[in-house]
Amino acid sequence: MHKQIALEGRALVVTYVFGNVPDARFEVELNLAMPSCDGPAGRFEMNEEVLGGFAQQIQSRPCDEIRLRDDILGGQLMLLVNQTATLRSAPCFSVSQSEAGFEKIMQAVTLHLDWSCQLLKSPLVIRLTIDS
């Protein structure tokens, strides 16, 4: 199995080429630091539908593309895959202490993309485009 990481203009492109395909599911995890965190300025969009804020969970949804729009950042991140994935998303919260007491802080949006290896007949390409 090969993993290739490349930059193409405003896009990060990660390509996977499989040799002997096992009877398994292939999963890619992305932890993304989005400045809006669990605030109202960040949202998922898929096919022009707003799925919710970054703190909302997405459970097992077919996905060819998803947009993470962040108004605090003043930009967006578009994730495209060339073979339909099953997408899950969940916020990652830490527990820490400060002078105000124990608190939960959202550290990342965690995306999981997965595919049945048996269905991956050609190189799998994940393209992450970052726009202002």
Partner: protein, 533 residues
């Protein structure tokens, strides 16, 4: 000769680079403004103040009237200004050239706006490392303040810590004042009359013994319960009036005391900070053992006399403790080196300011204070790093692919960049991306904190409520409170680092699988591409 206790009263005002404007505005409203206005009413109450540079410039822009008030207090000799590194860096953690540049920037700014150049300096988080002495001296600083704990660690008796001592490094002399822990814990938490009685109790026959206080001004209005206590219920006014009415306690500027008193002698302080910080720097197992040891000694009634010998870690342990802190720090050092290597005409103020912002201490550490867990503070550091990198690339271009062991972990990282984006790939097996920068947005999408256990987590499930003093208010060091409800399922820790493009194969119904491991494919790496197998 009447007994006199010179009260050297100093406050330190700081907000982290990148903090939210609403937080700064609230801090101004509940603390900085009422504090200064209270002081204006009592010209005889001499005090010292340090305002960190980023906050200072925010106040200059947004609250010019209060800066004019501060200037008036300086002009009438009521206030002494203290300097420091401009963005409140831990001086020991940045290169010598940047220490000097940061301190001179702050001193110059104070002189420009308030008309006075400082001769004393505040040390960020009271992190002492003797290597900072020559830089401070080179900037015209004559004295600094650290905790009395620093002195106790050398074996000096507590009773001696009522004036300044002298130290040197590389033959450069600097005087050092010991801040009284007893006063730090009393002001403003004990009732005002008890605090002043304590000050009066320090009087002795013969040479005047100074009471030395320098602590966060945020304890006067921002810390929990303190606004009502300090202003509404009148603690600060009572304290000032009782102090001025006292025949024994005499508020003085550090500079006046320094000019009139002589050194108590030579001292060589160990690398350390305040005692709580020394525990926070330790990894969890060591922190638990340290905490248990401290408790054992306390239970035996031996703590006060032996605490100097119960030393935890040092501030720079945070780089070992938190890989994210280390990564930011080493990225900052690398860019500082690149900036320093530029010819003078290529250097710009914009580059220097971005470097300074990347050196602000807050996002690099975590304890009861510190901002490593706060994404917006880390984002401010990365924003400055990414901006600086783009500025440097514009005058000193890099290759599109650079590989080196930036964080000194024994593994090479590959920096793949095209002037628009940068992906930093770890070549330690996972082939994951630990940093993904957008130069257009000045943002690192890979800035995620991996969740690790903290020694205080064991207190969370005890769900203890804070115990209140009969009089006064609780010191935050001693209280346990909850900003958010924490459930057992929230206490999750990561067995892997949180980055981008971590790959797994799940066979059958397996839920958790080990991350796939790769090695870089020899000969298959082009300028803009990395290939692993």
């Amino acid at each position: 000769m009447p007994k006199i206790v010179p009260l050297l009263f100093g406050v330190h005002a700081h907000q982290p680079v990148g903090n939210f404007p609403k937080v700064l505005d609230d801090a101004h409203l509940r603390c900085y403004q009422p504090f200064l206005h209270m002081m204006e009413r009592f010209p005889e109450f001499r005090f010292s103040i340090h305002v960190s540079g980023w906050l200072f410039d925010y106040l200059v822009r947004h609250y010019p009237d209060d800066i004019q008030l501060l200037k008036a207090l300086v002009s009438r000799g009521q206030v002494e200004l203290f300097g420091a590194g401009y963005t409140e860096p831990v001086l020991a953690a940045i290169p010598v050239r940047d220490r000097i540049s940061q301190i001179n920037c702050m001193s110059g700014r104070l002189e420009q706006v308030l008309g006075r150049r400082p001769q004393g300096a505040w040390l960020t988080e009271r992190v002492w490392d003797s290597t900072v002495v020559p830089s401070l001296v080179a900037c015209g600083i004559q004295y600094v303040t650290v905790d009395d704990y620093h002195f106790l660690c050398t074996g000096i008796d507590q009773s001696m810590l009522t004036g300044f001592f002298s130290t040197e490094e590389d033959g450069k002399r600097l005087d050092v004042f010991p801040i009284s822990e007893a006063l730090r814990y009393r002001l403003p938490f004990s009732p005002a009359n008890e605090a002043v009685q304590y000050l009066e109790s320090l009087a002795v026959d013969g040479e005047a013994h100074a009471a030395i206080y320098f602590d966060d001004i945020e304890k006067f209005g921002i810390w929990p319960e303190t606004y009502e206590w300090v202003y509404t219920r009148g603690w600060l006014e009572d304290f000032i009036r009782l102090t001025l009415d006292s025949p024994i306690v005499k508020p003085m500027l550090f500079s006046d005391y320094h000019a009139s008193a002589t050194t108590r002698g030579v001292v060589y302080l160990p690398t350390t900070s305040y005692i709580e910080m020394n525990e926070w720097t330790l990894p969890i197992d060591a922190a638990n053992r340290f905490s248990a040891l401290v408790q054992k000694v306390k239970n035996a009634g031996q703590y006060d006399s032996n605490k100097a010998f119960l030393r935890g870690g040092i501030w720079r342990n945070f780089m070992t403790r938190y890989p994210e802190s280390n990564w930011m720090h080493k990225r900052m050092l690398g860019l500082s080196n690149r900036y320093a290597a530029l010819s003078e005409p290529d250097k710009t103020i914009e580059m220097r300011d971005a470097l300074f912002e990347a050196q602000a201490n807050d996002a690099y550490w975590h304890g009861l204070f510190g901002g490593l867990y706060l994404p917006h503070l880390r984002r401010a550091v990365y924003g400055a790093l990414v901006k600086l990198e783009a500025l440097l690339d514009a005058v000193a271009p890099r290759s599109s692919l650079v590989s080196c062991d930036t964080d000194m972990d024994g593994h090479v990282e590959s920096f793949l960049q095209n002037g628009i984006l940068q992906a930093v790939v770890r070549n330690d097996g996972l082939a994951d991306i630990c940093e993904l920068d957008s130069y257009l947005l000045n943002h690192n999408f890979g800035d995620t904190l991996t969740r690790q256990k903290e020694h205080y987590h064991q207190k969370v499930m005890l769900n203890q409520s804070s115990t209140s003093n009969v009089e006064g208010i609780d010191n935050p060091h001693e209280r346990i409170s909850f900003k958010h409800a924490i459930l057992p399922e929230d206490m999750v820790f990561d067995s892997f680092r949180r980055s981008l493009f971590i790959d797994r194969l799940h066979t059958n119904d397996e839920i958790e699988s080990e991350a796939l491991r790769y090695r870089i494919k020899p000969g298959a790496t082009a300028d803009s591409t990395l290939t692993f197998e």
